[in-house]
Subunit: 304 residues, 2 copies
């Protein structure tokens, strides 16, 4: 992972245009446009056994989640698709892509197809273009005194991945993993009043730590407040270990944001999970006191 960090650091030195936001944000912001590009790879971001329509959904959703985090309205995508010789899979993917594009009212503008050697893992890329509102929040604006919030529930997709790996029953956990819902409406409502916002893709704690670092502030998170679904609690409970697993699992595609303003009415649950203070870094506590941070706070540089 150090190599990946080195690579991204090197890219940052050449991404000097203000629109790139130093490659530290979820998307590029260029005039009215908000633009992101995320890739997903078989065996890395999805399982070979995942249904192709769900892979198409995820490819779109992870990109739209980046636009949601900037309060942008999605308009269009361009796709890079790797064919690996399975025509039935490809046909099912196109059907799923069609349905996903229709669900979010997004146009397919173009892209490219390459035929990879047999046996190579599929690699799919998508560029999503949206329009931002009057304010396009960054990750870097959190202020001491702000509250920290997260939308939806955390940890479901991580547990859903286990379900998928064990060929478990369909249900909301599996759906959370395979068909995440980008919080587009909430992002657009929140953009005018937040000081910082990003999507939670790699894990709540690692993403909170990134926001704290970008903002030059200390994030205090109360683990007991991290919202868990009933399905999650039914399987894992809600003790410290279960909550820490949820908070470091990734693939949530919820919005993490800070503000000291009153919240608008949203179409999704929102939970206050902590407080921004002067200082730097991330501290986590629960009703029993300080919670030691695990070595790994989430996925490093998975970054979709």
């Amino acid at each position: 992972m150090a190599r990946e960090a080195d690579f991204i650091s090197a890219l940052r030195t050449i991404a000097t245009h203000p629109a790139a936001r130093g490659l530290t944000d979820d998307a590029a912001v260029w005039g009215d446009l908000v633009i992101t590009h995320d890739m997903i790879a078989e065996g890395v971001h999805y399982l070979r056994s995942d249904p192709p329509a769900d892979v198409a959904w995820k490819l779109l959703a992870v990109n739209l989640s980046d636009l949601a985090a900037k309060g942008a309205k999605p308009l269009a995508v361009l796709m890079g698709y790797a064919l690996t010789g399975d025509a039935a899979w490809d046909a099912a993917f196109v059907e799923g892509l069609h349905a996903a594009l229709a669900a979010f009212d997004v146009a397919l503008f173009g892209g490219d197809t390459v035929a990879l050697p047999a046996g190579a893992p599929r690699v799919l890329g998508l560029t999503a273009i949206g329009t931002g509102g009057a304010r396009v929040p960054a990750r870097s604006g959190a202020q001491a005194g702000d509250a920290i919030y997260v939308t939806g529930t955390i940890g479901d997709a991580g547990l859903g991945l286990r379900v998928a790996q064990n060929e478990g029953e369909a249900g909301e956990l599996l759906t959370a993993y395979r068909r995440p819902t980008p919080q587009l409406a909430a992002g657009q409502m929140l953009a005018p009043i937040v000081t910082a916002m990003m999507d939670v893709s790699d894990g709540l704690l690692i993403d909170a730590a990134r926001m704290a670092e970008a903002s030059g502030a200390l994030f205090e998170i109360v683990l007991d407040a991290v919202p868990l679904s009933a399905a999650y609690r039914a399987q894992k409970g809600e003790q410290r270990a279960a909550r820490m697993t949820a908070a470091t699992a990734g693939d949530d595609y919820q919005l993490l944001f800070t503000t000291s303003a009153a919240l608008p009415t949203l179409d999704c649950p929102v939970t206050r999970i902590g407080q921004v203070k002067r200082g730097e870094g991330l501290v986590v506590s629960d009703s029993a006191g300080a919670v030691p941070l695990p070595d790994t706070l989430g996925w490093e540089h998975k970054s979709v």
Copy 2:
């Protein structure tokens, strides 16, 4: 290849937005913006032995060539990059990308990095965004009576690939393969006066056939007129077979266009190679008469 054609046909049915131009053009055209996304894969579009800086150049150049074909001025790119565990290669790639971006005055806006399993071929994607002029030519506008032109020389990159495969000497043929030059200035000068324009990426004849089909016209190409470089002629001669090899080789990244207007002064050679007539399809002749078309006119659906 039929599978790839089927896949693209299926995508066309869902790409109904006018900006997509039916997925039959080199790029999407949306308001002032011209946007393209091309991927290149190791072992497909470049050799594992190609220098990483040249791969970076090619990734950028093949996308900028699409913009050139629409007369657009490139502004920015987003990149999807697959790490496969070779940090030295990755570092050299970033250096090469930096130099290539600087050469064309293009900004890096963002992108994504994924770590692929060891042994997987590298897959690199790039989205390039440019601004179009008052007219953005399509592939579909060629009219009976127009002359057919091509910029530069044809076949050099195809021969350069052979040089690279055989570890031959550096020279202009190898450079044509590894570091193609997108004809950006010519594209911008030509866009106002052409009836149709595209870049020659898959082979002169297959691309001419595509333009003829999109335009609903007959393209008559004079093989003797296809411009060959001195380096090409020195190796292959200029008889019918050598010319046919050049005209079906691909990777030229020259501009193919039609017009009945006088040409502006360009910064590259331009050669009249034929005539648009009423009818449909492609016919090729030389001083000895009609030239039978080979089974394969170029790369099918390589499409960068």
